[in-house]
Amino acid sequence: MDSPADHLWLIPALPLLAAGLGALTPRRGRRFAAGTAIAALAGSLLLSIAALHEALADPAAHLYHNFSWFDIGSGVMRLGWLLDPLNALMCVMVSLVGLLIFIFSLGYMDSDENFARFFCFLSLFAAAMLGVVVSNSLLLLFISWELVGLASYLLIGFWFQKPSAAAAAKKAFITTRIGDLGLLLGLVWLYNSTGSLLLYDGGGGVLEGSVLGALAAPVLAGGFAASTGISLLVFCGAAGKSGQFPLHVWLPDAMEGPTPVSALIHAATMVAAGVFLVARVFPLFSADQALAGAPLHALTVVAGVGAVTALMGAAIAVAQHDLKRVLAYSTVSQLGYAAIFHLLAHAFFKALLFLASGSVIHAAHHEQDIRRLGGLRGRMRATFATFAVGMMALAGVPFVFSGFWSKEAILHAASAWEVSPLPLYAGLAGVVLTAFYMTRLLCEVFLGAPRSPAAAHAHESPKVMTVPLIALSIGAVALGFFGTPAWPWLQSRLTGAEIPGRPLLEGGGLMALSIVLVAIGLGSGWALYGRRARVAAAAPDPLAAASPRLFSFLGAGMRFDALYAATFGRLNRFGAALADVLDRRVWGGAVATLGRFGELTGFVNSVVDRLGLNAGFDAVSGRFRGAGRAYSRRQTGEAHGYLRALAIAFVVLALLALIGGRR
């Protein structure tokens, strides 16, 4: 029984080992820390490719290896690894993009004194992410999931000397924790109703027919199925990690971390974890589709949230001035589309965009405000070219770039969805906005004249940073050809069933529409920002000039932070104040009373001790001491004194004997 899945644990174990070694490395062991991290991840990449090869041999099969972890009562908690095309593709994507980002970090973090620690955290993150991907048990997945959250917290707050970074790390951790609570509740519910958290277990796993059927039976009030409830709770966790509305607020703030971290976590992998989770347990989400009477299907909620997120993120991205924040909101928006093909493609081009912007930031001495950049095209040719590739992939420029095909697939699916046309409209609007804001970003950063000394003195980044950029841009282009409608290799591998190729231009109306929309977005972006480039850093944005109030509303992220501060924050403060009053008045009083009582008993004790026991013992021992002193006074050391006493005693005895003799 030697299944390829048996050795799958090695994939996350290697980076974990590197993280452990990195944690033990002293600060000066820079080369060692970076070397082990990169070597371990490269090992994981090779293993992932081998696993992908195994998985593609039989795409429909789910190879797994389960083992028991511990016994609880009469039950057994079991964990396991799973190998199927979805996992294997994610593994390859995470380790490949991760590896490129690790290499990029060599250059970007070069001058940071905590270089070794950075690589330790990166390895921990990669290990946790790969753990999420390979686990066959939702429990193991949850453990890795939390580790991902921890690593993300550590990396966002890597420059914790900056108060804003520390606050952003805290915000990210707490916001995702809210989602994770939902996920945990979902798992508990699932375990309660099925007795297992294994995904595949020879017919007994939660994603297999019989169990799913039982879950989808309507059991709750109002005709809901248990699977709907569980799915929605699981989706809470996914939304938290993926930055979906309404838990998206942490993602833009997370840009406080070093740029490779933004690329790794907040563009390529961690945010993909949420989407991956949905895809992983997709059978559970779709289990209630057969239930015609249910008032709400889980997938409807997912689609609705995705549509809102996609549109909102894109709208906010239009009005941001921070280079990384534009990309962050773009990530929020793209994740709203939530499909695995798009996710893989997105991982490549968004990592590319982030790394390219990292290269810009590195070159421009940490200037991130796009109003103060500009004119970098001539001086940073490689960065400009790769950024442009990423931008066109993201905007969905037709036919060559992966983003076009993946987005096309989603729009097709949305147009075929008969429940509501809303996701389609939101998706189409998102297409325009994406093309628009990416054009704006490109024009502001690279065209025109430099608008600050830092931008004027920027120069191309070293090879160690540009080579990963080029590799990623190749990926961003090439991946598209695996998922075109004419040759849906990827989709058929993921579903395990052969999907017949369609002619390229089937449904050409929709495709033409989206091409037109992309063109509108690109054109309007060029018209507003490219044709007459910004001349000074303080000049107003053309959009802001047209509609200042809307622009500032979007610029503040639709005021979600303010909204949350006014509602949840205020509620929290009220609760805290209440707890404070309770603490001071009620609990504090009770504790103080108890304390006084303890004090009183202590006082009584001490009095009894001092006056009763001590006095008695003192008196007795005083007597002993006095007696001893009296005896010692008799011992004069005078030999004659002793003799005299003897003689007197003798005389007395003699007299007594005499008197006794008379009687």
Partner: protein, 103 residues
Amino acid sequence: MNPLQLCLVFSSLLFAVGLAGALARNNGILVLLGLELMLNAANLNFIAFWRFHPGAAPATGVIFVIFAIAVTAAETAVGLALVIALYRHQQNIRLSEANRLKG
């Protein structure tokens, strides 16, 4: 006054002389001499009671006295050693000055 009474009176006088010497003298050796006299008075009593007691077992008193003399000899040896040690310590043998061995 029979011979036993005479012996007892003599030994009592001898004891009194020894006691007086032991109490009155300050010289360590003379004190030891006094002690010796008192012991000999006691030995005299043993001999006298044995000699004048009707039906006493043969040689009982003599054996007693011989034992006592042996023990006394040992005791005197120790006493003289103490006197020598005292002399080494304080360059004389005056007992009035040897009073530092007290509790």
